[in-house]
Every structure is written in C-alpha cells, then in structure tokens.
Symmetry: C2
Subunit: 230 residues, 2 copies
Amino acid sequence: MGAQSTLGVSFDPATSPIAADHPGVTDLFAVLAYGEISAFYRLAEEAKLSPTLRGKVAVAKMASAEMDHFKTLEAALAERGVEVFDAMAPFVRALDAYHASTDPSTWLESMVKFYVGDGIAADFYGEIAGALSPEVATVVHDVLAETSHSEFVVEEVRRAVSTSRSERDRLTLWGRRLLGEAITQAQYVMAQRDELTDLVLTATGDLNGIAALFERMQTSHAERMAVLGI
Amino acid sequence: MGAQSTLGVSFDPATSPIAADHPGVTDLFAVLAYGEISAFYRLAEEAKLSPTLRGKVAVAKMASAEMDHFKTLEAALAERGVEVFDAMAPFVRALDAYHASTDPSTWLESMVKFYVGDGIAADFYGEIAGALSPEVATVVHDVLAETSHSEFVVEEVRRAVSTSRSERDRLTLWGRRLLGEAITQAQYVMAQRDELTDLVLTATGDLNGIAALFERMQTSHAERMAVLGI
C-alpha cells in the first residue's frame, strides 16, 4: 500500500494522512464550496420543472442543505486565512460548464441528476477524504452528508421507468452523460490546478490510483443507476 | 385595553394570550410556511439579477434561512396533527399574486424588496405574536429571526441612491408599491379565512385595532425606507 506522491514523499496513506497544511487542501475546500453554490442555484432553477409543490419543497430543502455546507467550507477556509470568493474563482468555469452541459429538460432528468450527481461527488470526495488528516476529512465528510435528501427521487424515477421503456432508455443515456461530463470537468480542473492534482495523486497513490478510483466510481455509478431501475 | 373578539370573548391581550388551540393558529403557521417557500424561490430567481457572486451567495444564504423557518413551521403544524401541504393550499394564490405584482426588474429593486418585504412581514406577524400564547409566539418569533441577512442591502442601496436622483425617485415609488401590494394581499387573505381573521382581530382588539396596526406598519416602513436613503 506504500505510495509515491509527486512531491516525492513515500508513505502509507492508511497510517500517514496528508497533512492539513498541504496547499491542495485550500483548493479542495474551494472547489467544494463553489460546487455547493452552483448546486444551490441549479436546484432552485430545476425545481421549476417539478409538477408539484411537494417536489419543489423537497428540492428547496436539498438546496438549503447545500448552503449549510457552503457555510462550513467558508469557515474552514477562513480558519486557513483564505477568503472564500478568491479561492473559488478558479473553479467557476469548470463547474458552470458541467451544469451547462447537463441542463435537464424534464423533471425526471432533473431528479436523476440530483441523485446521480450527489452520488458521484460523494464517491470522489469521500475517497480523497480517506487519505486526509482527520481535521480536514471531517470538513469533507460534513459537507457530503445529508445526501439522503435526494432519496425522494428513487421512488418517482422507478415508477416512471417501470411503465415506459423509452423513458428508461432515455434516462440510461442521460445517466451516462452525467458521469462522463463530471469526469471531463474533473480532469479539466486537475490539468489547471497543480496543488489540487498533487493532493489527489497523493491520496490515490499515483496515476494508476486515479484510474482505479475512476473505475470504482463507474461501478458505484452503475449500482446507483440500478437502484433507479435504469 | 379590554378587547372584544368576534368570538365574543372579552379579555385583555396583555394578560390573556390567545390560546394555542385557537383554530386560526393553524392558518397563521400555514401562511407563514407558504411565505417561506415562495420567498425561497423568489430569492433564488432574483439572485440572477446580482452582478456579483458575492451578492448571489448573500441571497442564497437568505433563501436557505427561509427553508430553516419552513421546517420549523412544518414541525409545528405536524404537532397540531396538520399536514403542511394541505394547510398551505389556501394561501398559494395570494402570496403568488404578491410576488407576481412585485417582480423586480433590477438588482436594486430586488434588494429593496428583500429588505422592505422582510420588515413588513416582521412588523405584521411580530405584532400578532405579541398576543399569542408563549408556545405559539415562540414559533412565530423563531421564523421571523435571522432577518439580519438582508442587512447587506443597506449599504449597496444607500450608495446607489446617493449618486442618482432618478434612481432614488424610482425606488421610492417601488417601496410604496411593495407596502401597498402586501396590504392588498393581506386583506384578500383575511376576507377568505374566517379563523385567521378572528385571530388577527382578537390579537389587535377589533377593526380599529387592525387599522392602527396598519398605521404603525406604515410608520415603520417609512423608517426602513429612510435607512435605505429613499
């Protein structure tokens, strides 16, 4: 399990967590923070597609949870002496591009995006958190929590796809696109941000470790799609 | 200070609070609950007018606080054995009409609406809460709290109106319209909902008491406008 980071420090991630002062941690908090803001506004926008007030309220609760997470990250960055708006700036383009390229046209697509998007983010950041020092990992785990809000979609999506083969086919393609676009944008971010990339490489071991992480994410994604019946 | 309610019960509101089982309390919680939901979506929508990410984040925090308040009201209604969606239904039309008739066309109008709208609601419900039993009043005060989020608008609006006479005139008219529409819709709701109207009459004393309340609200509104420099 020994791993060679690009900084040239050999260690076992299970026993030697990445130090809290690794410069990539600021980037990690910042990309998570802008992720929360962009998710908030996307959720609020996509809730318009909901045919019921009940659906709108469920989405508003999810959006509100994103803002709680944002506040956690804003505070964690402030403790590091970093202003959240400065820190988020480099990630605006990639996250906006992800949302622009996965703009749902129906309430069902929207619901699949809530559920699948939450899952992809939880998989990726959860694995990275596993290699971080406890004080940093706690922040990451806190902001990945409460994804249970998106559970409400499972029943609605399952019902829709069980009665319509074409809907199921359409949503299957949609789900694949969500994962593809997420990985595309993650790679774009890593190509731009050396310190964040170093943190991810250190957390996963090396380039093979990143590839293995993406494979585990694909498996986990397929399992989530199966839960939705697609 | 003795007051005659439409139910024919004479009492002094200062020493005899309105009982928690007054049937108007359910309506009060329900109109507040739908108010939070509609404010949430309006805020999220109007934040698009913000020229900066900083403004968008400030608005997202306000919207998120509305959802916390909604959850408080949902729980308070559940304790009374009332389902929030059923209870909110009678108030959807009036609140949607308020927002439709006060749809801001600029970020400045939006900011004035956040600030002034919060203030109008806090004045009205705060006065009613004063006559309610402590367990009910606590819920109302809780959901009126945290309006400090809208304080961020004061500086921005003051700056804008200090440099533009026409902007000031425009926003002065806008502020008047906000109060006028709020009172129009409040009267519409009271004409429809006997139990809520009885609660408001009981809380304020009588029809003269309501008139006096609306006058105090106008004074308080003028003070808020002065704070904004309009």
